[in-house]
Amino acid sequence: MLGLTLREASAALREGKVSATELCQRCLASIKETSSVNAYITVRDAGALQQAEAADKRHRRGQALGPLDGIPVAVKDNFSTAGVETTCASKMLKGYIPPYNATVVQKLLDQGAVLLGKTNLDEFAMGCGSTDSIFGPVRNPWSYSQQYREKSAQTGQISDEDADWVITGGSSGGSAAAVSAFTCFAALGSDTGGSTRNPAAHCGVVGLKPTYGLLSRHGLIPLVNSMDVPGILTRCVDDAAVVLGVLAGHDPKDSTMVQEPFQPFTLPSNLDVSKLCVGIPKEYHAPGLSRETVALWTKAADLLENAGAKIVEVSLPHTRYSIVCYHVLCATEVASNMARFDGLQYGHRCDVDNSTEAMYAATRREGFNDVVRGRILSGTFFLLKENYKHYFLKAQKVRRLIAEDFVKVFHSGVDILLTPTTLGDATQFKEFIKEDNRTRSAQEDIFTQSANMAGLPAVTLPAALSARGLPLGLQFIARAFCEHQLLTVARWLEKQVDFPVLRWQAVPDREHPVLQHNKLASLP
């Protein structure tokens, strides 16, 4: 049952083949069984079941609210949820219970979606491993798959199950793991430099970063306001389109949104790609790109070409400056956005009370981890009067150049870009933490970041397993507000690649419900 796609589960609910309560109970059980993955920070057992019961009533009356009515979902813990603790995986916000819902959360609830809980992340979404959380790192469910265990055993790499697990990527690693581990049918992530697509790729799920301005950011606790977008994580492209249809649309509470109404769409089952022109950015042949990723990328291009699509090499010359540019822009906005966390009104407050300034300082020192503090300090430095034009202003100009690269390419007749999502498959935790957060972010976000710089929609889909038995993703980037085309092409490729389903290597002493299903239901 949990292996169904969202659309199938929705149909099953509508037809009464399963009740929302049953679905919810199964998901809650699955969360418990996979608790070692550490995908969730907060689980709403009672609240979720209550919602599910209400959904069942509506279904029985034939008054379902929409395709999400009764569907269990998870939300990254940097979206404000009324009455549900929202921590951003930081000591600073531990115990903070917001009085309001983020608009995208509200839209999910309005559609009857069942909120299972809040998922783990890097503190304040700063990271690419989901390892820097006060609640501990998220473990990639594929670490416990037969595929990974068998392959690794063959190469003699695996010794200890508890030491050799791989990271999820991040920062929305909790959401990616939650979807990947069959604990929910869809999850919200956020994507500032790749935070939805990166973990989606590592966890073998679909990760959609919509166009900036299409989804409301109201209630998303910001990392970089000018790049943040709510992200959608699902097990197949079709499901991402369904969730997008629910979430998109103007929200007067977010002034950076487009005014035009959004038309929800369903993806055509057959796509003629022969009229499609697919760009392959040559700069994405980056150092560190794994050989098998290149092979996969080439294979996908060949599939498209064989189906009649035109494949052209394109150039995005300024992409190479993306990382350093992002570093400056991110740090400055972080320094500013984090200023409100002073211990006065909500969240953590230190015991120091001899002066306001001392209280601020101690609260912020105790409340933020090193990564957050480091970015605040560099951002503050970049914004100093004498530095402003050397760093922030320059970075903004470079950002404009990066964005213009895309405009030029799309003007030249290219419809869509095909790129890898990550350099390679997921790294083992013990390897990952050898490098610092910043170095890792610079490496990991290399293919994803520029889409945020330019505000463009991008999607990653799982395309193959690596030699180690871990997922590899491919990314499509489209013109702004061309989500329909983006997802249509992604769905076409999804059909061709026939990505295998995660097969649990028995989670000890427990028969996992997922094991009953050997195939992803989206496969023909």
Binding site: G219, S255, D342, T356, E357, L383
Partner: protein, 551 residues
């Protein structure tokens, strides 16, 4: 959106701490410091001898930064209500409290208010303006930054034309102009309430996020009087526009003065910023004090510091608040959650947009009400009164309405009415330190009095006495007073003739003088008759009778 439960929790959670306030409470009088300075530098400070007279005169240079709270029902970026003196933290939206994830949404009314103010002050309205974040940590600034317009404000390059009363009697008007550098939209902060006894600071966020227009004026004024007159004119303009209630005592209009002194022809001196000024009168005092202080410092060879100074209205002088040399870096950056503010005019207005979602400058220009300068001109023309009368009528709150009401209710020439309103009524009000709306004489009772005068029932000197009686506010009408006190003119000509005869009899010396041709002495006799009758005779009748009798 106001969250009362939240505010309650919020107040309870307030910390026990003090703000670094000791610097603001320096109790050493600045004057005593100055005097010490005088002695120390006396030897060095003798001015050069060779300069022509007047060239070494120090002149004040004054620029103003004015924050006007926008008169709107909700805040600049949130839907929370705006209301003076509401219970603490009862008007606070999630955004105003800076809850994580909240976003600003610009209030169209505030934009229109700024545009209208800009137009009224002859500014260029920028078709595109930008919002910025200005960072500093303070307990009543919950986001850690203020959203303002640092790079590209909504209006620039304006002119404020104002008048002030000059001349020995203050009966002449001089016209001055002060350039307005820019008008920017920004958020107000909350309020910190320091409780010294409990070593606590309480925060009230009702004011946090209210829309402000910051008007930056060029240093085109030279003294407190000019600055006060400019502020008063601005206040009248804002009130006429309805863009701000501009009440200084309620903090809706807050003025900071940048004051420096220099010798004409030389570059401007180092300036000090004077804060904490809550009335036009104190503004003038604070500036003049500061000019005097700086002049003395320089005369004595000292240096003026670039600092912020607070005006103590009780003691009448300014004290140093904080040094500005080690300047705070506000780390400005663009506000990423607000797109550029684009304004349209009739020509540039796109065809397909919803008029509710755009601001059309031309429409606002059409809606501009009459400005005070025009109102004054109209009053002068309509009632044929003097320009200084028009000035006073408008500058004294409520006086214009008072005057116009009296005029409506009486047949008396407005030129006579204005004398009563400005000399008698306003004189009495000023003496009692009262506002027009606190007047003990209503427009109708003044009109009744003037009608008695106009109809010849009382003389003008009796009218003054009736006025005094009315001012006592004993609930009697002018007519009642005239009857009770027997102030009415003696209508019986024979009775008047008798009184005149008595006066003639008792003033033979004067009579002789008149007969010799000195007609001026006649006035003395008329006065004498008036005295005898306590002003109850008609001077014209008395004059005729006396002339008849002495011819």
């Amino acid at each position: 959106m106001a969250c009362s439960g939240f505010s309650e929790r919020y107040l309870k959670r307030l910390p026990l701490f003090t703000m670094g306030r000791s610097r603001c409470r320096v109790s050493v009088p600045a004057l005593s410091l100055l005097r010490r300075g005088v002695q120390q530098h006396a030897a060095i400070a003798s001015p050069p001898q060779s300069q022509p007279k007047g060239a070494d005169q120090w002149v004040g240079v004054v620029g103003l930064e004015i924050h006007a709270q926008i008169y709107s029902s909700s805040k600049l970026f949130s839907g929370a209500r705006v209301q003076f003196a509401a219970p603490p933290n009862s008007l606070v939206s999630f955004f105003d409290a800076s809850l994580p994830g909240t976003l600003p949404v610009l209030n169209r009314r505030c934009v229109e208010a700024a545009v209208m103010t800009g137009l009224a002050l002859n500014c260029n309205i920028n078709r595109k303006s930008l919002f910025d974040r200005k960072h500093y940590f303070y307990a009543d600034l919950p986001a850690g930054y203020q959203i303002t317009q640092q790079r590209l404000p909504i209006a620039v390059n304006g002119i404020l034309t104002y008048q002030l009363q000059v001349g020995k009697k203050g009966d002449q008007l001089a016209t001055r102009t002060a350039r307005i550098k820019q008008i920017q939209l920004e958020q107000d902060s909350g309020k910190s309430l320091h409780d010294d006894n409990r070593n606590q600071t309480l925060i009230d966020l009702n004011r946090a996020g209210i829309g402000l227009m910051e008007l930056v004026m060029e240093p085109d004024m030279c003294c407190g009087e000019e600055a006060a007159a400019a502020v008063r004119e601005l206040q009248l303009i804002l009130q006429a526009l309805g863009t701000s209630q501009a009440n200084m005592s309620e903090g809706q209009l807050r003025v900071d003065a940048n004051v420096s002194v220099h010798r004409p022809g030389e570059p401007y001196g180092v300036r000090a910023e004077v804060k904490n000024i809550n009335s036009a009168r104190f503004l003038a005092k604070a500036i003049d004090y500061e000019i005097k202080r700086q002049t003395e410092v320089l005369e004595n060879g000292g240096k003026v510091l670039n600092e912020t100074r607070a005006f103590d209205f009780k003691l009448g002088y300014t004290t140093s608040m904080r040094d500005k040399e080690g300047k705070q870096d506000y780390r400005f950056m663009p506000e990423p959650n607000l797109p550029p503010l684009i304004l349209f005019d009739a020509k540039s207005l796109p065809a397909h947009v919803n008029p509710q979602q755009v601001v059309n400058i031309d429409l606002i220009r059409e809606r501009l009400p009459e400005l005070p300068s025009i109102s004054r001109k109209r009053l002068v023309e309509q009632y044929r009164i003097l320009p200084e009368h028009g000035f006073t009528l408008l500058n004294e709150d409520g006086l214009k309405d008072f005057f116009q009401n009296v005029v409506k209710m009486t047949q008396t020439d407005p030129r006579k009415v204005i004398g009563w309103v400005i000399n008698d009524l306003l004189g009495h009000l000023k003496q009692g330190n009262l506002a027009v709306h606190q007047s003990r004489i209503s427009p109708s009772s003044l009109a009744e009095l003037l009608n008695l005068l106009e109809k010849g029932i009382i003389s003008s000197s009796a009218a003054k006495q009736v006025f005094e009686e009315l001012w006592k506010d004993e609930g009697k009408s002018a007519t009642q007073i005239v009857e009770e006190k027997n102030f009415g003119l003696i209508q019986d000509r024979k009775q008047v003739e008798q009184i005149c005869q008595n006066v003639i009899d008792q003033h033979q010396k004067e009579v002789e003088g008149i007969k010799k041709g000195n007609k001026k002495i006649l006035n003395k006799l008329i006065g004498q008759v008036q005295r005898e009758t306590k002003g109850r005779t008609d001077p014209v009748m008395v004059k005729t009778i006396l002339e008849e009798k002495l011819s």
